[in-house]
Amino acid sequence: MRAPHIKASLFVVIALAFSVSSQAQQDSTSAGIEAYREALQDGNPADLYVDSGAEIWKKKAGPKEASLEKCDLGLGPGKVKGAYAQLPRYFKDTNKVQDLESRLLTCMEKLQGVDTTEIVKAAFSSPKKADLVALSAYISAESKGMKVKVSLAHPKERQMYDLGRRLFYYEAGPYDFACATCHGQDGKRIRLQDLPYIPSAEGAAKGWTTWPAYRVSSGQMWSMQWRINDCFRQQRFPEPIYASDVTVAISSFMAGNSNGSVMQTPGIKR
């Protein structure tokens, strides 16, 4: 009678030892990734895009030969400092909740007289979108170190946030996937990378406050719209239209959840 009992407890000990060592290994790997990220912080190539974005902001362009310097990002015409930390927000003139990139399209149309149809349709890596990516690097950098302060007071802002939350849990596509499939539980990882739990303040901030970012593996600067678009691609969803309400909604959800966290933009990623 005793023997099987001993065997069973031995098995438990072995299983325990194994799980401890694999846990330790995982911890040291994520610590290694963390150290690598820290090393990258110094000399972030996103800074190069910040500079070119600042130039594009001041450059006269479009049929109206105007710069974007009078663009109202929510804090008044031309006010860039801190604007990104308060986006997306409701804009009276368009009667819409807009994120940075959809707002920039509005400014390009109104101030510069640019037809943005082709820009919206263009691939993210194409030169047509390059200006918007650089601008988002520059404008997000002007909010670095500031606290996220996204208003959800206006009914349309609230509506956008709620739509974003519904979208986050919305399962669809050939894989029956949702954002929540990967980002809906705390303490999960994919391969060896930790997955932030987006509905929590800490998890949302991990994503929201570090994009736009430079991706070392591809050598590309990615705007938030690009990041979101690729999330949908990875879920095998139909590709959302650039700067459409659905993309602003998911941003509203993330930004609203990160309120109070500190912007670290532009970030750097593997």
């Binding site: 110094d42 000399g43 190539p45 800074d47 190069l48 500079d51 070119s52 430079y214 070392v216 050598g219």
Partner: protein, 103 residues
């Protein structure tokens, strides 16, 4: 026209630390474009850094160096106010020189 680099240099206890972030595509010559044609190699192959007119670093690079290369190194000597000048040349013969002051 090549885009500017970002140079930072600081002196502490007689040692100057120089950090340079360069703006370059660094194409390896191994990749293909959407239509299957080889993208020609295009990379920085020579780097020179001067500290107050004296060359302190010379490097010969190849296609294995990453896009937008970042280089940081320390040199004995130098002081605040010294001039750092970095010049690179790529395999197409394009050149770029930028400078910064040691702080």
């Amino acid at each position: 026209m090549a885009n500017p680099m970002k140079i930072r240099a600081t002196n502490k206890d007689g040692i100057t630390e120089i950090k340079i972030l360069m703006n370059h595509e660094m194409e390896t010559g191994q990749r293909k474009d959407a239509s299957g044609n080889l993208i020609p190699a295009w990379f920085i192959n020579e780097v020179n850094v001067d500290l107050n007119g004296k060359s302190v670093l010379k490097a010969e690079w190849g296609p294995s160096v990453s896009k937008n290369p970042y280089m940081a190194f320390k040199v004995k000597g130098g002081k605040a106010g010294d001039k750092v000048v970095c010049t690179w040349t790529d395999n197409k013969g394009d050149k770029r020189t930028d400078e910064a002051t040691v702080s």
